[in-house]
Symmetry: C2
Subunit: 445 residues, 2 copies
């Protein structure tokens, strides 16, 4: 028998992820000791209510409401409470008492990451967070370690399972947004208040973390442009399908050139976008997540799996725990947040992408030339134009077509958001345009 050193592990939070982490720590004690070279002793689980029902049967004596005693007696603290406070204070307390930390708290890191990484760096503590982005999918470590010698140019991530489930239902089953959301809620994929998911706040937090990591630049949450999925219509989904595309809520992190200054910068943004059905991201169904990474040398890579779920996320937490514990025992390099590149985070107006614009126009000679002129004046060049008569009967569509109108679907080449916004303004003001029905970005090309 090998005699192992004992590491005291404190767990903050006994919810669906915390309970699974505790179970796996207890069940796989011997195996984990083998992998770490030290045994991991779960010394306590901080909960608000000692008597609350738990999803997993755990020894009653592990639960405690005394945060300070638990944290100060630990070598490693795992924070799975969520929210900003008291999670932030507890992590700082752990770091300053000499403990290493593992967290899955994306909201906290997206808002206070710089402060926490700085505190960890000051004392040489480790702060790992694989579970904070895309649940079980290993993405933080591949970006940090595997691609450490490469240059990441772009990340397109499906990082919110709820919205992917909803958009997938709308695409596959033809559901309305409301029906798809109701199904998601019934199946436990959406919370009672789905705002954080469907308005893109959750994805924006993950975009901030991914961009910071990939570009060695501190990308604060408030610099992430964000649109949710609440304005996505069945008509947009249907029209995307006809054109060979699917609509996905994407977290996009991109290295780009400032069109005004010519300087290097980065962009982090979240919005629903059209993705070609031949793209690997188009095949990500249901509540699954996937992160598509384009690196200079490696080329395109994709990481796919479960983006949420208690036991799945627990896997990522335990992976971090093993790494942190190994270094706790044997020393070696920790990973401070790397922000040495310190690139400017560019405004959404400077982002360049392609667009699909659907217009309802008066059906008369010369309209196409007028429309083309509006795009041209704003330096947005057209890739393709499709015209179709509107076939809906009055009263059946959400917007009633005016008789004598036609629908134009216009695909553009790459243009800046600023140029496109100016174009859309001009189109809306033009007398031949009776309605700007839809503007969707096209990504992944």
């Amino acid at each position: 028998m090998i005699e192992y050193r004992n590491l005291r592990v404190a767990l903050l939070g006994g919810g669906s992820v915390g309970a699974q982490v505790a179970r796996l720590l207890l069940e796989h004690r011997d195996e984990l000791a083998n992998r770490v070279g030290a045994s991991l002793e779960l010394v306590g689980i901080l909960v608000r209510d000692l008597d609350a029902p738990r999803t997993v049967d755990l020894p009653r004596e592990l639960f405690t409401t005394d945060a300070d005693s638990l944290i100060l007696g630990a070598d490693i603290v795992i924070e799975l409470m969520g929210g900003i406070e008291p999670a932030r204070s507890y992590i700082l307390e752990a770091i300053n008492s000499g403990a290493d930390v593992v967290t899955a708290n994306k909201a906290l890191l997206a808002q206070h990451g710089a402060e926490l990484f700085e505190a960890a760096d000051q004392v040489g503590a480790q702060l790992n967070y694989e579970a904070a982005v895309a649940g079980a999918i290993p993405i933080v470590r591949p970006l940090r370690d595997s691609l450490a010698g490469d240059t990441v140019n772009r990340i397109l991530g499906i990082v919110n399972g709820t919205t992917n489930f909803i958009l997938d239902r709308m695409d596959v089953a033809g559901d309305s947004l409301e029906d798809a959301l109701a199904t998601a809620t019934d199946l436990g994929y959406a919370e009672a208040d789905p705002t954080a998911d469907i308005e893109g706040y959750d994805a924006a937090q993950k975009a901030a973390l991914l961009a910071s990591l990939a570009f060695h630049t501190n990308v604060p949450l408030e610099k992430v442009y964000r649109e949710g999925i609440t304005k996505v219509t069945p008509q947009q989904i249907e029209s995307a399908r006809k054109a060979g595309y699917v609509v996905k809520l994407l977290a996009i992190c991109e290295r780009l050139t400032d069109p005004e200054t010519g300087e290097q910068g980065v962009s982090a943004r979240v919005y629903p976008a059209m993705v070609h059905r031949g793209h690997p991201l188009a095949a990500v169904h249901g509540a699954n997540n996937a992160v598509f990474v384009e690196a200079e040398a490696a080329g395109p890579l994709m990481f796919y799996g479960a983006g949420a779920g208690g036991v799945q996320t627990a896997s990522a937490v335990l992976g971090d725990l093993v790494s942190v514990a190994r270094r706790h025992v044997m020393g070696g390099p920790g990973y401070a947040a790397s922000s040495h590149a310190d690139l400017p985070v560019l405004d959404i107006g400077k982002v360049t992408t392609r667009y699909a614009v659907t217009l309802e126009v008066t059906d008369e000679p010369g309209v196409l030339a007028t429309i083309a002129g509006v795009f041209s004046k704003n330096h947005v060049s057209l890739a393709q134009v499709e015209q179709s008569m509107t076939l809906e009967q009055p009263g059946t569509a959400s917007h009633e077509p005016v008789s004598g109108t036609a629908t134009l679907v216009i695909g553009t080449h790459e243009a800046t958001e600023a140029a496109l916004a100016a174009t859309v303004n001009d189109l809306a003001a033009n007398s031949v345009v009776t309605n700007v029905e839809s503007v969707l970005r096209v990504e992944g090309v």
Copy 2:
């Protein structure tokens, strides 16, 4: 300006991967120094012929034929020569002189991995090999680190780009194996002697590495069961397509129970198998690679990207280099090959899977009952049976159907390879069976 410590990096091999590694090391010198906390100085590139043409323009003075001087003067040695000797001796020399090692040499590791890892462990040297499996795709590090707290139950890998390209062409374009191979050769996806790829030797080496890593068990190459793709026919591909499947060459690593002793064991094997079109692996086209991992807690994960190519593979080499260099400077845990689980590697006969068996039988009453009886006697239970008249004209198919025969396609439930082999033997000997046309395993369910 930060004054960095200098690390001396020796490169063994100046081929397509080596030249790209050298280029990236030189071009990204400052960025790499930032990430490592030490500057990486490329001190030399070992080549056989100083005057051979190179794919990348590199400083002439870096090339050398003096292996010993280069290796003995290095802090880190990157081995990209391929082959067994002298690569093995050079790596041992590097380890014993106190250097850390990065290699992409799958053949060497699959055959002599235990010896090399043992030697590294003895002196506390690091031996990293991300590029040895699936090229640019981060898979070694996710299995080793990200899933360190989880239990891997199964890996299904498309780890050979040449055979995936060939099978994809046969499926998508209806090519024969010969035509698809010729196209692969024309496009540079297949080597002049394609044996290592199409007979599955390359995939078997990767299966040995993946299984050893995932199961913490030394899985030697000779215990990997191997079948190549040379017997895959257009008829099999077509019949798989009709049933909603695609044929892929899979490297399979699986935790399983010995059907005789009831003890835990593992299996590593390579063969062409039918994969349902709904499975994420079915969407891996062309020469791409993907590794599908099923872990106890994380659930299904997939890692997708380029499996070969000079610059792509160089990305993985550089990621290893940065990790190794950081630890070279700051100390900390290295990664000896972890074989503490030491599970028995089970023979192919003990593997359980599902099968699709295509038979040509005499078309007379009672045949189906006879056939079903043969399966039943061997304890292989049937999932579905489909009968179709053979429609080919004599002379047009590779096997000429005898008039008065029918074709039966039989899908089985899970059965051991041994039971299936016995069944096939009995079928071949049965007078109602005029030909056993095809036996394909069905994986990914």
